[in-house]
Symmetry: C2
Subunit: 238 residues, 2 copies
């Protein structure tokens, strides 16, 4: 037997699938569910964690567990700057700071170089959806005042204007748990893995014009990368 949490998760999954629990509706409280399945708290919460990771259930702290709408995942499109067709509104906080730590290596600038940080949170309705920290060398950043009040507009329209053409975008994708700060900002459980994307955009001279650190909660986001093979590529042999 594949542990009790899977059995409970399977049952709840089918209840959501066939509509006995309506999309958007609240599940019974964890205490009630635990009583119904005759288990104690941990296995029940583990079952909910499975469904949460699948994106079928969303937990909200003092309120309850909710069945998700028809499992709408947003898709991050790789290969370029944050696309203008972001379907979600974004709040941006602009900060001036000096590069330190990993950022130096990523940006290819000496320590202490001035950079502009755009701290972006996209929203899906009232709740936060995903998070991006975008770093641009100060002299390349739009001349917006730092700490402008949260600015609900799309990222791309802010970043679209005076930037040089970029010729290469490298995106590194990995999985990690959110930092406590990220979990608080995104209002997700600290056990829900996020898709972390480090995007480095380089212009025609080889200079790094943008570094973006994205955190996309694994239950509500995915990323897609498309590669066109225009040239005939050689095939290597063993």
């Amino acid at each position: 037997m594949a542990s009790r949490r899977h059995a409970i998760a399977d049952d709840l999954r089918s209840r959501i699938a066939d509509g006995r629990i309506k999309p958007g509706g609240r599940l019974p409280s964890e205490a009630q569910l635990a009583a119904h399945y005759a288990v104690s708290t941990p296995p029940l919460r583990n079952a909910l964690a499975l469904l949460q990771a699948e994106g079928l259930v969303e937990k909200i702290h003092g309120k309850g567990n909710f069945a998700r709408q028809p499992l709408r995942r947003t898709t991050y499109v790789g290969g370029g700057r944050t696309p203008a067709r972001t379907p979600l509104p974004v709040s941006i906080r602009t900060t001036w700071l000096r590069a330190r730590g990993h950022l130096n290596a990523l940006l290819g600038v000496p320590p202490g170089s001035p950079v502009t940080e755009f701290f972006c949170v996209s929203h899906d309705g009232k709740s936060p959806h995903s998070l991006a920290r975008i770093y641009v060398p100060r002299d390349l950043a739009p001349a917006a005042a730092p700490d402008a009040s949260p600015w609900p507009q799309e990222v791309a329209s802010l970043l679209a204007g005076p930037l040089p053409q970029l010729t290469k975008v490298q995106e590194n994708v990995h999985v990690r748990l959110p930092t406590p700060s990220e979990a608080a900002t995104l209002r997700i459980s600290s056990t829900l893995a996020v898709l972390a994307i480090t995007r480095v955009a380089t212009d025609i001279t080889g200079r790094v014009v943008e570094v973006a650190l994205l955190a996309l909660p694994g239950d509500r986001a995915e990323a897609v990368f498309t590669t066109e093979h225009t040239t005939t590529e050689r095939r290597q042999e063993g």
Copy 2:
């Protein structure tokens, strides 16, 4: 305070970082650690789960918790067929089957179409590393006998030969928990998220020549995608 597990994880992390726990070495048993930190099992295991998700600690069931070597992550390179320079040996099991379910849509073939499945497990030393299920329409697959005994060789050299040139590769990346079967095959905890990649390769006529379902454990793998912008692309405005 950010919950007790983080405090414990921070302490263990620094112990690993400064070498008090040597790379590859075994940590004290969970009972001993729990006694040392004066906590009960759950928070201690939660702390280990954090380090495990970071790739710093590897759990092996009847043996113990082990500090990872200098955190060597393997990198999946997107944008093409599985690269020949896979650094890890791969075992392949070949099966003939007929497409059903999602596979039809992905392959763009009618239900029941014959396909060849390559079930691939890459190995890092003695332990399994990651997992791939590759589906190719039967008439495009190399004429290897199905169920050939596990064949330790690189994926690419098997798939390199008689396949048509592919012109488009679309890779969909998301995060999920492993299925119980995957967790068993990969010998990972069922709570450790995996990077799931669905790769669809299309040839010059638009026909799908390969569908690959990859599962890369999040603690030991990452993926990188590079996009070259050869043409000058228009910039969209709000």
